[in-house]
Amino acid sequence: MSTQAQADLRKEVTDEATRPRRSLWGSVWARLRRNRPAMVGLIIVILMYLTAIFAPLIAPYEFDEINLENVIAGPSLEHPMGTDELGRDVFSRVVWAARSAAFVSIAVTAFGLTLGIFFGVLSGYLGGWVDTLIMRLGDVLFAFPGLLFVFFIAATIKPGLTTWLKGVGLGDVARSDYLDYLVVIIALSLVGWPGLARLIRGQLLSLKRREYILAAQAIGVPTWRIMLRHLLPNSMPPVIVAVSGGMGAIILSEATLSFLGIGLQPPNPSWGAMLFQYYPYWRHASLWPLLFIPAAILVIVVLAFSFLGDGLNEALNPQLD
């Protein structure tokens, strides 16, 4: 071998070693950053959660601060979005409602994900009758049309839940303002987990047969290490896509429940409840702008989540066109 060829090879190897390494997440972020709608979505989503966290600092008034001296006023310096029929500051209610939406979306995702991962891993790992039982249970929940089951749960569990909470000494939580959140979160989590469990089970089943898992098993890597280092991280991409799309859907469901009067109820702030309160105003010359505030915010947030979800899907599955 000539010295020139050796030098070339050495250079190539050094280049390879010194090239900045990109992790999986680094390249995902690089692809996501190039996707303009997804980045706009991400910024809106971050803004929404920041608004939720800092609601007490941003909102000039309490969400339930009634001022009967100043009802249904147009926008002014004191009330940038005007006031409603009880003189409550609309801007403050919109800001506080972001907190409701953020809280419900995070809680439902956390519960749904916990149940989904637990049952999905159980199902995918154990197989057999456990798998059949869990998947059939999911089938039954899927057999209810979309939100109907949520409507039904939200409308029926409240009294029973109150009695139960008082029975176990959590009477403070049974106050109606906390209870509303609890009802919405329980109803949405119960309906949300089968989808995630199914997704994780499918991922595990297909990953179990991949070469790198077989290779790891062959060289004697312990099962827990395979689970933690290989199976779990590799089954995450579709879960992340499902969760980011799902959070928008959860916020929309919360708004729907609240619009129908079985979710968060006044004075609890919710964009859906505000819409229900304002929608009859379309006929009033001075009031109709009120209607467009929660409507526009809700649509923008839902769109942001859907753009972000699509962007993540493309960034995590680059083989897609």
């Binding site: 039954v140 057999a143 209810f144 049309p145 979309g146 939100l147 109907l148 409507f151 039904f152 749960i153 409308a155 029926t156 569990i157 409240k158 009294p159 029973g160 929309l252 708004a255 729907t256 619009f259 129908l260 009067g261 079985i262 859906g272 819409l275 229900f276 304002y278 929608y279 379309w282 006929r283 109709w288 209607l291 467009f292 409507a295 809700l298 649509v299 839902v302 769109l303 859907s306």
Partner: protein
């Protein structure tokens, strides 16, 4: 095909029994004591016990469930709490008819428009028409019914007051236009998106290239080869259509004050009228299960590969 049919048909009663059990259990453990609600401030333990015995509330849970099953099979859902002494089934029937008319027309229009827009967008891929359809679909899927409804009212009943803002004079009247439009947005967006995706996929296939290569006219390629194959996956989203209609009906009928099942259920949810809530949940679940069964069967009929699954 026969084995597939039988398997699907056997699953239906199992599903219905589970669904009825869930609704019964939630109705049994969930709501506050109906006797206490009935007696109110005249509550007397002795009278309460006698009434509970009369209604059969003192019997074991399973005995009550079996009796309840026997009643719902005869379409006896008990009496409404709000409309006293009126059987729920008699209250539901006329409302159900209104809802069926509304849903049938809305889904017909939604599917027809959605499929046409999807085909047009796919044929004009990348052009302005395509981009308008695609962004319209994204927007149509993101905008909730309870946002679009008031906006439609604002536009067509206030800004350009050409249509009545609500009420119901039958499906062929002007009062039906806005609700049908509102209810059709969901199916329209889903079908346009799916048709476009299906058409784009099919148009890239080898047999399309073959058809063009042998000199077939573009019109013939599209109608004879592309459309027929692109339509198969549309059957699966008929299931989604059913789900979106259920939710849309609740909201649309409430917003426009249409005396249908959705508005009735909305009233019942607000007034915690449990017999009505349970009856509506069961009816919709049954309709949904039958609809999905029909979709599955149609899919198995059209695509032989499904039958083996």
């Amino acid at each position: 095909m026969l084995a597939y049919l039988i398997r699907r048909l056997l699953w239906l009663p199992v599903l219905l029994i589970i669904v009825s059990f869930i609704t019964f259990a939630l109705g049994y453990y969930g709501p506050a004591d109906p006797i206490a609600a009935l007696l109110g401030q005249h509550y007397d333990p002795e009278i309460a016990a006698r009434l509970a015995h009369e209604y059969g509330f003192d019997q074991p849970f399973l005995v009550q469930y079996v009796k309840y099953l026997g009643r719902i099979i005869r379409l006896d859902f008990g009496e409404s709490i709000k409309y006293r002494n009126q059987p729920v089934s008699r209250l539901l029937l006329p409302r159900l008819l209104v809802t069926i008319q509304l849903n049938a027309v809305a889904s017909f229009i939604g599917v027809l428009l959605g499929v046409s827009l999807g085909v047009i967008a796919a044929l004009k891929r990348g052009k302005a028409t395509d981009r308008v359809v695609v962004s319209g679909v994204v927007f149509g899927r993101a905008i909730p019914v309870f946002v679009a409804g008031p906006i439609l009212l604002f536009l067509f009943a206030r800004t350009i007051p050409v249509l009545p803002p609500g009420g119901w004079d039958g499906i062929f009247s002007r009062s039906a236009i806005l609700p049908v439009l509102l209810l059709a947005i969901g199916p329209l967006a889903i079908f346009a998106r799916q048709t476009r995706a299906g058409m784009l996929e099919v148009m890239g296939r080898d047999y399309i290239r073959t058809a063009r290569a042998k000199g077939m006219r573009e019109m013939g390629v599209v109608t004879a080869h592309a459309l027929r194959n692109a339509f198969i996956p549309l059957l699966t989203i008929l299931g989604f259509l059913l789900g979106s209609l259920v939710e849309g009906t609740f909201l649309t009928e409430t917003i426009f004050g249409i005396p249908g099942m959705g508005q009735f259920a909305f009233e019942a949810l607000g007034g915690r009228d449990y017999p009505v809530i349970i009856a509506v949940t069961l009816l919709v679940a049954v309709a949904y299960a039958l609809g999905n069964l029909f979709v599955d069967l149609a899919y198995g009929f059209v695509d032989p590969r499904i039958r083996q699954a």
